[in-house]
Each structure stands twice: as structure tokens, then as C-alpha cells.
């Protein structure tokens, strides 16, 4: 048995980053295209999470009859769709009206703040402040012990079943395999990068940039080798040892957020709608001159953002196994930090910023003992540092 260490904190950080990225994607779309610094985004996350709760666990909501529980996945889908409908309501009832009045940025900030107050307190009013859970199956966490020994790497996987710690697998990688695997990963990554790289000009739009393709190829190679090339254990007399806890939630959250990112990417880059969205973001008046229906684009942006927010909310509520009316507002600050860090005009920057914020929050809490209440503070220190050095954010321009 070894204890959890930096590697485990990193894994946690990636998951936190993925959840923040779900919220940050929607926020950066609204920020960039609708030009609203949306302080209600955190509470749109809360609303989305409670929408799914209505169908998954209605017995917990005081004014609802207990009409039975829908499976979590179905409830989540319904919740996301309903949140999208609400997004359309926000746009049609509030933000479109203010846009028609040519409201400036300050007014939009205050309006979104008003909406945030209404949404958060609507949840408090209807549900109350108690902690509620989704009805889901229990998830068993598998702990992987990584032991670096003289002759290579030994991995032991253990699970807690019925209170007993059961060893479910033990395998290892000798040094030659590790070195070969890493070399193969670099080679595969570079090969993909070289294959997709082409002469770039002004109009080149990559669906996925070659650098990211290459990096993804490298990671995939390492993972595939790790799963399929499992050899004998290399002894347990370790020099360095660390533990990672993984369960199906981690994998699902990562997969769902990556899928959402990919779908948004395809929409933005390959469809006519996506082009209209990017054009509106650049310059709404010019886009309208070229025949873009800006109202329609804004409506879609709000719907998509509300759906992404709901997705982030449902994943948060599932991951943390409780829902509170403040859950979204607590996420709002890291999400804003991520969006500003990435440079507000780029959803890709927002995702990169979210990963940096998520990692720094969890790794920072691990590295600085007794700092667990300062998770958000760590994110903000990084944000302010970046603002001082590179005010336009790491990815985009203001």
C-alpha cells in the first residue's frame, strides 16, 4: 500500500478542469458572441443540475409528487434539453430586449446579476437549502498503486468490495518496455503531426489543429500500450510509489466533456451556423450586412450555452454526490477565471484555461498543506498573475 500523491492530485485536477471546461465553454460563447459577461452562468449550472433532479429523484423536491425515478442518463438528457429551453427564455425575455436598446457592457453585467439572483433564489424557494443526491448506482473506485522498482514499474489494482480490500490485478512493465513505449509515443505523435501539417495560409481552418492531434496520438499510444502490454510484476521493493484512485465517474466526465467540446468544434468550424456564429462574434454589424440573422445566432448561442451549463451542473452534482443551491455560484469564479485566462474570444482558450485552473486548484491544494479552503483563491492568484503579465489571456486577444 502506498499513499496518494502528486499524480492522484493531477488526475483530480484534470477532472475538475473538465467540469470547469464544461461551464467555461458556454460562458465564453456568451461572452464572445452575445457580449454579456454572464454572472448568471453559475446559476444556470445550478438550474440544469436541478432540472435533471426533477426527473431522477422527484421525491426529494417538496412540492412534487413522487412519480418515480427516471434512469440517471435519461434524466440528464431531459435536464439538458429543458435547460436549453430556459436558455431560449433568458434570451427572448431579457437579453434580446436589452440588446435592442443598445445596452452597454455595464448594464449587461448588472442585468445578468439580477437574473442570477432570481435563478438562485428560485431554486432556494422551490427546493430549500438541503443537500440532495441523484439516485444512481454506487460507484466502486479502483486504486492503482504504481511502484517504481529496480527493474521497472509494478502496478497493483485494488478495490474495496463489501468492506474488504481486494487485489484485482498485479502486473508490471520492465524498463525496456517503458523506454520503448515512450519513444513509440513520441514517434506516433510526431508522425501524426507531420502528416496533418500543411502549408498554412490565411484561410486554413483545421478541424483539429495538428499539434493537438499529435499530442492526442501520443497519449493514446501510451494508454493502449499500458492496457495491452501488461507483463509480469517487477517486484514490490519500490524506490518511489504513488497511488491513483479512478472510477467510472472520472472516465465518464472526461469522455462527456471531450465529446461536447468536439461537437461544438465541429459546429463552429464546419457548419454554416458555426460560420455565422464566428462572424457575429467578430463584428455583429458586418455579419448582419452579409445576411447573417444575428437574432437567430444569439438565440442559438444562449441555448447552447445553457445546455453546456446544465451538462456541467449535472456532472458536478453527480461527481460531488450532492446538489445545493449554491453549487453553481461556487463554480462561477473558477469558470470566469478560466475564460479570462484563456482570452475571452476563444472557446479553445477557455478549455485550456479551465485545465490550468483545475490542475492548479487540486495540485495547489495537495502541495500547500492546510489550504483546502483556498482552492478558489489559488485559481485567482494565477488569474491575477496572468493578467499582470499577459492581460489578453494566454490564447486570444482582447
Amino acid at each position: 500500500m502506498v499513499s496518494a500523491g502528486l499524480l492522484d492530485a493531477t488526475v483530480q485536477g484534470v477532472i475538475t478542469g473538465a467540469i470547469i471546461a464544461g461551464g467555461a465553454l458556454g460562458l465564453s460563447l456568451i461572452y464572445d458572441i452575445a457580449e454579456v459577461p454572464n454572472f448568471a452562468h453559475g446559476d444556470m449550472i445550478t438550474i440544469g443540475a436541478y432540472m435533471a433532479l426533477v426527473f431522477n429523484n422527484p421525491g426529494e423536491i417538496p412540492f412534487l409528487p413522487n412519480f418515480g425515478s427516471a434512469p440517471f442518463v435519461l434524466a440528464a438528457v431531459i435536464g439538458v434539453v429543458l435547460a436549453g429551453v430556459l436558455g431560449a427564455v433568458y434570451e427572448l425575455a431579457i437579453f434580446r430586449k436589452f440588446r435592442e436598446k443598445d445596452a452597454d457592457l455595464i448594464t449587461m453585467v448588472i442585468v445578468s446579476l439580477g437574473l442570477a439572483l432570481v435563478l438562485r433564489n428560485a431554486v432556494l424557494f422551490l427546493v430549500g437549502s438541503k443537500n440532495i443526491q441523484y439516485q444512481t448506482q454506487r460507484v466502486i473506485t479502483t486504486n492503482f498503486d504504481f511502484l517504481v522498482t529496480q527493474s521497472g514499474l509494478t502496478v497493483t489494482s485494488t478495490q474495496r468490495q463489501a468492506g474488504e480490500l481486494v487485489t484485482t490485478g498485479e502486473w508490471g512493465y520492465p524498463w525496456w518496455l517503458i523506454v520503448a513505449g515512450l519513444l513509440a509515443a513520441v514517434a506516433v505523435g510526431y508522425a501524426i503531426f507531420a502528416f496533418y501539417r500543411e502549408e498554412e495560409d490565411f484561410t486554413t481552418v483545421h478541424l483539429i489543429p495538428p499539434k493537438i492531434m499529435g499530442a492526442a496520438g501520443s497519449i493514446a499510444t501510451v494508454l493502449l500500450l499500458g492496457v495491452f502490454a501488461r507483463l509480469d510484476p517487477q517486484g514490490t521493493d519500490y524506490i518511489l510509489g504513488t497511488q491513483i484512485g479512478l472510477n467510472v465517474k472520472h472516465i465518464t466526465i472526461l469522455a462527456v466533456v471531450i465529446a461536447a467540446m468536439f461537437i461544438l468544434n465541429v459546429i463552429l468550424k464546419t457548419t454554416k451556423l458555426g460560420r455565422a456564429m464566428r462572424a457575429t462574434a467578430d463584428n455583429m454589424d458586418l455579419a448582419q450586412v452579409r445576411g447573417v440573422n444575428a437574432d437567430r445566432v444569439q438565440l442559438i448561442v444562449w441555448v447552447v450555452a445553457a445546455m453546456l451549463a446544465a451538462l456541467a451542473g449535472i456532472l458536478t452534482g453527480w461527481f460531488a454526490t450532492n446538489l445545493t443551491p449554491n453549487m453553481g455560484f461556487a463554480l462561477l469564479l473558477p469558470i470566469f477565471a478560466a475564460v479570462i485566462l484563456g482570452g475571452i474570444s476563444s472557446p479553445y482558450g477557455a478549455v485550456a484555461g479551465a485545465m490550468i485552473i483545475g490542475l492548479s486548484m487540486d495540485v495547489g491544494v495537495y502541495l500547500i498543506p492546510g489550504s483546502s479552503t483556498y482552492r478558489v483563491a489559488i485559481a485567482f492568484v494565477i488569474l491575477i498573475g496572468v493578467l499582470l503579465v499577459k492581460p489578453e489571456g494566454i490564447w486570444g486577444d482582447v
Binding site: D104, V111, A122, L333, T373, Y374
Partner: protein, 419 residues
């Protein structure tokens, strides 16, 4: 509780929050800085003042200090202790200004919305720090050994019961007379709608304050409400008690803050602040270092919030981190916007409107298990009012105020192009 006592506590609240709101108005209304972390300076002002003025080694307190400034200066003479307290308040205001300087430097050069977000973040972090670090200011347990200036002087009595009643009663009636005179003046200047609103509201309040208590409590209640400054139960001969004194101090502080901001925004300096709000490029093109001006406005507004915090501490007599939640900032924003952005009178009106409704709803009898619902409904209403006001009357109830030195190309009726 007599109606007079309720009015006194409500007016104290309104004065303190108006001072807080005037600080916000200087930042948001006149200079155009959206400071969502305004409550942080309220908190800093309260804590620093309390720690500077409380005695060292107080029971149940394990934080820094206290530094007992009033006790040190009481050696100077009878008013030395008061002087020490005022020094403490100044210390709180300076601390608030310095922290806002540290917040402003990285954020004020950037887009206006960055300030909103970072300020909200920093305020949240500061509250967390005060809550979690017990060595700093006693953490979540708060401080209950707040120094109350001139506490031992009160209740003040000027002689026999009758003499007290006559002196303070005459002062009370003088205040009513002045209020009445002022209301008549306002009434005459109003348009038709203003006259209608005043004509309905003022008699209603008068009936509530004078007639209803008389019906239930007889002449005793009527006397207590009319001679509101005189408290017959304070001391052997009656007199003016400490709550009424705090009200007077708060009103005086509000008057001072009001005068200071009026002087500031009506000066050429204030004209630069307003031009920064309208279009920052213009003053910059004229050679003004706008960053410095924004920083100074931020610091002055924060110092006023700090002073409000110091008053809050003596009014409540106990401070703890959970009193300084981010919602206080949002209340102040609502008050400023409802009353009239960039209008100091509007801030007072908006604060009175807001806290009148908020504390007035206390009288609605709700079963205790629905108290969360009541609080939530109240906040929903605030959010809704905020949106509706911004849509239908973005300049607020009173609109932007007039200035001694108007900006060029602005009609004197007050423009609305800033909202």
C-alpha cells in the same frame, strides 16, 4: 417595541448603508467602475477599526491586537477616548483604501468587466481568509468586544424629567418641522406624478407613525413617537440613550460622506471622473492620466465603505465574517440603481426604499419553516426589480443629478447615455 424605536434602528441602518452606497456610487455611478467586491472594504473597515480600538487580550479573542487606541488617548483629557476611536475609524478607512489600491493596480488597466469579476473573486477570498484564519481576527467566532465610543456618558440627561422632556422634545419637534418644510418644498417642485406619489405616501406613513399607535397605546404612545429623541426609560430622569446617539453619529457621518462626494464630483477633478465614465479616450487625449484617477476614485469609494463598516460595528456590537457576504454588495447596487445611478440623493432614497421594504417585510407573519422561502422570495424580487428598472427606467427613480460644472454637450436635465 415602540414604533419610534423601530424607526430609529431603521434610520440607523439606512444611514450606514447609504454611506456604503455613496462610496459605491462614486466608483460605479460617477467613474463607471463596476466593483462587485465593495463589501470587502466594508468588512476591512469594520475589522480594522474594531481591532484598533478594542482592549488587548479580550476574553474569547485569539487574533491580532487589540490596540486599545481610545484607552491610550483617554489620558489626554475627557475627549481623548473619542479621539482614539476616530483615529481607529481613520485607520479602518486607510486600510480599506490600501487594499483597494492593491486590487485596482492589476485590474483597472483592463476591460471594465475584468474589474467586476476579479473584485468579486478577491472579496470572496478575503471573507474566506478572515473566516478561516483564527490567528488573524478570531475566525468564524467573530469579535464581540467592540469598543463603543462615549458609551459611559449615555444616557445623557440635562436635569429633571420635565426639563429633559422639554429640551429633547423641542429638538424632536424641530426635526419634524424641518422634515415637513422640506417635504412641502419637494412637493411644490414635483410634477403631477411626483405630487400624486408624495400625496399618497406621506399621509400613509404619517397615519402609520402617529395615528395607529395612538389607537392601540393611547396618549403615551403618541407622546413617545412625537418626542422620539427623548427616551423616558433611559436613566432616572429620562434622556437620550445610546441607540439615538448612534443614529445621530451615523447621520452625521452620512452627511460628511455626502458633502465630501458632492465636493469631489462637482469639482474639475470630478468632471474628469465623469468623463472617464462617458468615454475614457477623451480625457486621455486631453493629457489626463486616467488610470490614476480611476485608482483614486476606487480608493476614496472604498474608504467611505470602510467608514460605514466602522459604524456598522458599533451599531451591531458584534462582527463576524458571515455578516459580509457578497449579497451586501448586490443590495447596494440595487439601491444605487433604483434610486438613480450617479445621484447621491438617489442613493439615499434607493437605500431607504430597499431597507424599508426589506425590514418592513419582517412584520409579515410567516410560519418559521417558511423563513427560507421568505428570504428567497425577497431576493428574487430584488433581482426582478433590478432588471425591470434597468429596462424601463435605466436612470433610476431620480435620474442623474445636476452638476455645478456640466460636461460639454449635455443638457442640464441629466443625460441617460451612461446606462
Amino acid at each position: 417595541m415602540a414604533v419610534a424605536d423601530f424607526i430609529i434602528s431603521l434610520l440607523t441602518f439606512i444611514s450606514i448603508y447609504s454611506l456604503f452606497g455613496i462610496g459605491l456610487n462614486l466608483k460605479f455611478g460617477f467613474t463607471g467602475l463596476i466593483d462587485f467586491g465593495h463589501v470587502a472594504y466594508f468588512m476591512i473597515g469594520a475589522y480594522v477599526t474594531v481591532v484598533l480600538t478594542m482592549p488587548a487580550g479580550a476574553a474569547g479573542y485569539s487574533g491580532i491586537g487589540g490596540f486599545a487606541l481610545p484607552a491610550i488617548f483617554s489620558a489626554l483629557g475627557p475627549l481623548g477616548s473619542l479621539f482614539g476611536w476616530i483615529l481607529g475609524v481613520l485607520g479602518g478607512m486607510i486600510a480599506a483604501a490600501i487594499v483597494s489600491l492593491a486590487v485596482g493596480i492589476p485590474t483597472l488597466r483592463l476591460r471594465e468587466d475584468y474589474l467586476a469579476i476579479t473584485a468579486l473573486g478577491i472579496a470572496t477570498i478575503l471573507t474566506t481568509v478572515v473566516n478561516d484564519e483564527e490567528w488573524l481576527f478570531n475566525g468564524p467566532f467573530g469579535i464581540n468586544t467592540v469598543h463603543s465610543p462615549l458609551r459611559d456618558v449615555f444616557p445623557v440627561s440635562v436635569g429633571s424629567f420635565t426639563l429633559n422632556m422639554v429640551v429633547f422634545g423641542a429638538l424632536s419637534i424641530a426635526v419634524f418641522a424641518f422634515t415637513g418644510y422640506w417635504l412641502v418644498r419637494v412637493f411644490q417642485r414635483q410634477g403631477r406624478r411626483g405630487k400624486l406619489i408624495l400625496g399618497v405616501l406621506v399621509p400613509l406613513i404619517a397615519v402609520w407613525y402617529f395615528v395607529l399607535p395612538t389607537l392601540s397605546g393611547g396618549m403615551v404612545e403618541l407622546t413617545r413617537n412625537t418626542l422620539w429623541l427623548f427616551d423616558p426609560t433611559a436613566g432616572p430622569n429620562g434622556g437620550i440613550d445610546y441607540d439615538r446617539f448612534i443614529l445621530l453619529v451615523s447621520v452625521a457621518a452620512l452627511g460628511g460622506g455626502y458633502w465630501l462626494t458632492e465636493r469631489t464630483i462637482n469639482s474639475p477633478y470630478g468632471r474628469i471622473l465623469r468623463s472617464i465614465r462617458e468615454d475614457e479616450d477623451v480625457p486621455r487625449a486631453l493629457g489626463k492620466e486616467t488610470f490614476q484617477y480611476k485608482l483614486q476614485a476606487l480608493m476614496l469609494g472604498s474608504a467611505l465603505a470602510g467608514a460605514a463598516g466602522a459604524l456598522w460595528a458599533i451599531n451591531i456590537g458584534f462582527i463576524a465574517p458571515d455578516q459580509f457576504a457578497a449579497t451586501i454588495t448586490f443590495y447596494a447596487f440595487t439601491a444605487v440603481i433604483v434610486g438613480g445611478t450617479a445621484n447621491n440623493k438617489g442613493v439615499i432614497l434607493g437605500t431607504a426604499f430597499f431597507w424599508g421594504i426589506r425590514n418592513g417585510t419582517r412584520f409579515i407573519d410567516v410560519p418559521s419553516q417558511y423563513s427560507i422561502q421568505l428570504a428567497a422570495a425577497r431576493l428574487m424580487l430584488i433581482g426582478l426589480v433590478l432588471i425591470l428598472i434597468l429596462y424601463y427606467r435605466p436612470e433610476g427613480l431620480l435620474g442623474e443629478q445636476d452638476y455645478d460644472i456640466p460636461l460639454p454637450s449635455r443638457n442640464t436635465s441629466g443625460g441617460t447615455d451612461d446606462v
